[in-house]
Subunit: 409 residues, 2 copies
């Protein structure tokens, strides 16, 4: 096994990553903006809502006219009109006056609250009894209550969720400036790897990583560009790496589980113009034989061949790289779940361990149960609900320790 000459911790690698940045911006229609990343701050173009609206069916009133009103001592108000739905009322209101209004209706000027219809009684054509006092602002939303004109309502780098898309609609943004989704070239290496549709002859394995990594790239905001499989040949590997760097913003190599291909990868990447090795070896398990380089300003990440190791390294190192390239600064990932560890776990000091776990409820508490099995076994990640991290300083964790389970999927 070749020696690793520049072993780095994940946090050291994170510090190197700010050299990589968004690959550009584009405009998309709002219908397609879900999960895209804002490339510009969104400023509120006008007060939102732009006018005061009723949130209940009832009567628009001056709140002060209802003070002290009750079932036994109702306030008597003069009905001066009805607010037509979707239109600006053509009257304003003075003291002692009320106007019929439906939910969503625009409050006439002079009104500062709404009394629910349930708390009123029509006396005659022009008079209504009010049985309950309301505070100013009750059963209505005020002009500018969501946001004021000019306010920064969403920042650059924000990943758009359904509710954010709704907010942009409310602001009238039918098109949105977003960061371009980075193209990620994916290359599997190794004489032992065959395409998925092939029945592998004895000794060979199917190309799991291209699919697994492609799906992770999609999940985390990139567009996979599949370059296929390259055998253990430095010439071919170099040609495909050049192709990947031309076609994409980020090059992912996986494999080389054989000694030979591991060495090729490093030599080939060193031979490319403008290459700089940022890490050769990362202090995590699984995943030590990881290679990170910058080639002509684009990141190149060499992942171990085992699918579980490749997935975990891609989560720990590749995802933050994708975040930089896609401008994601606010990604709204679900928080980790606190749980108790179901058995002792050993761990070597000086490296971070990532352990697949299932979650089980016992006596009202969640327990994280490590999933055993080699990192070549993708089914172990299928069975897992998440992953826990054991700190590089720890020598292991005892049964019952509180851990945080990072959701996986």
């Amino acid at each position: 096994m070749g020696e690793f000459f520049r072993v780095r911790s994940p946090s050291e690698l994170l510090a190197e990553m700010d050299r990589f940045a968004s690959t550009g911006e584009e405009v998309v229609p709002l219908e397609e903006a879900l999960d895209r990343v804002l490339s510009r701050d969104v400023l509120c173009p006008h007060d939102l809502p732009p006018f005061a609206r009723a949130t209940m069916d009832g009567y628009a009133v001056k709140a002060s006219d209802t003070f002290g009103a009750s079932e036994s001592l109702p306030a008597l108000l003069q009905v001066v009109g009805e607010v037509p739905m979707g239109e600006e009322p053509d009257f304003s209101m003075g003291a002692g006056e009320a106007a019929r209004i439906a939910t969503g209706g625009m409050l006439p000027s002079g009104a500062d609250a709404v009394v629910m219809v349930e708390h009123t009684q029509v006396v005659d054509e022009s008079t209504v009894e009010i049985y309950k006092s309301v505070a100013p602002g009750e059963h209505m939303v005020s002009k500018g209550e969501e946001a004021r004109a000019g306010e920064r309502i969403l920042p650059e780098g924000w990943v758009l969720r359904p509710q954010d898309v709704g907010l942009l609609a409310a602001l009238g943004m039918d098109r949105v400036w977003v960061h371009r989704r980075p193209l990620v070239a994916i290359l599997s290496t190794g004489d032992e790897v065959v395409p998925v549709e092939v029945v592998p002859p004895p000794g060979k394995v199917r190309d799991v990583n291209s699919y697994c990594l492609g799906a992770l790239v999609r999940r985390w905001g990139g567009i996979p560009v599949h370059l296929g499989i390259v055998p253990d040949s430095p010439q071919e590997l170099e040609a495909r790496c050049r192709e990947g760097l031309e076609r994409a913003d980020f090059l992912l190599l996986s494999g080389g589980s054989s000694v030979g291909s591991r060495d090729y990868a490093l030599k080939v990447i060193l031979s490319l113009d403008g290459s700089e090795i940022l890490a050769h070896g990362v202090a995590i398990k699984p995943g030590k034989p990881t290679l990170l380089a910058s080639v002509g300003g684009k990141p190149v990440l060499g992942l171990p061949g085992h699918p579980v190791s490749a997935s975990i390294v891609f989560a720990v190192v590749g995802r933050p790289l994708l975040d930089r390239l896609s401008g994601r600064r606010f990604a709204h990932r679900p928080r980790p779940i606190p749980a108790r560890l179901a058995r002792n776990l050993a761990s070597a000091q000086g490296r971070e361990d990532y352990v697949r776990v299932t979650l089980e409820e016992r006596d009202g508490e969640l327990w994280a149960k490590p999933v055993l099995g080699a990192s070549g076994l993708i089914a172990t990640l299928v069975r897992a609900e998440g992953v826990i991290r054991i700190d590089a300083q720890a020598e292991g964790l005892e049964r019952g320790s509180l851990v945080e389970v990072e959701w996986w999927g």
Copy 2:
């Protein structure tokens, strides 16, 4: 306000939903299978892995030959060959023999463990010293360790995550049978609603729901079909409802915050062939004015006009409907986060309350802080990190109560 004549609880509605089922199946290439739902059980076509493989670089051995081996008393084994990467070894191994092997290499028959290269020393061309004993199965994966031929490895109804895509690749499934994604027609109603690109005149509001609901439909596995906005006219509403039911598998109406349009929706849906009202009014807040019907076997869901109410009702009622239509039975949603409630919350008995919250860490504990604001204010859902549910039996929750925060976004 019209009366609700068939108010149902969310759990009563869930019980009604099994009448709706998957809208069909199709085949997709594995590269596009992420987040799709398996429409058939996946059986393992052969043992996985199909042969025993080394998981470390070193020597394939018979474990029994290494028993008792140590630095001071190494076992001496005869090297009978080297396993070529990606090929079936052309030799088998007997007692006292070893073979060089790299990670991923196929174990020769007769071998049942691998000794790491670090624990060996070459003596000469044909002899190696072993410094550490290994147990049978150590540093290797066995044939069939992931799954046995014929075993059901993923069930129908499973939503495919990246690791599942990897597993299907390992099984050689370059194409996958999945449930068709249901088409969901989305119609906004109300004289007060204008298209997003229009600057709303006083009294009117932009069509937030079409976008917000469209994004939620996408998020939860459907394909939105935008039908636009229909004014408060029973004739037009009927025509657009018929169009929606022809073009899609599920019809979503939103709005009618005005009294008139609320009544139209019910009448129009009752007038359609084969319509059956499953709920008129749902016992949740926000969201009571919700209408659920079956028309010719397709679900029709009428949502309140306020964007927050519409989103919450769509999560509570619409998402399980989408689950039925898309065959999703195992959806791997992130678990809710336990937190303590940061202030008292009142709630009426007999209805479920859904409260937007932010999460804040204080003294090592997570606190859920209710986000105040009318359900017409979409920005309140943008500020929220999740939603908590107050049970229909509860009259409210006290500050400090343990709540579960359902992640939102």
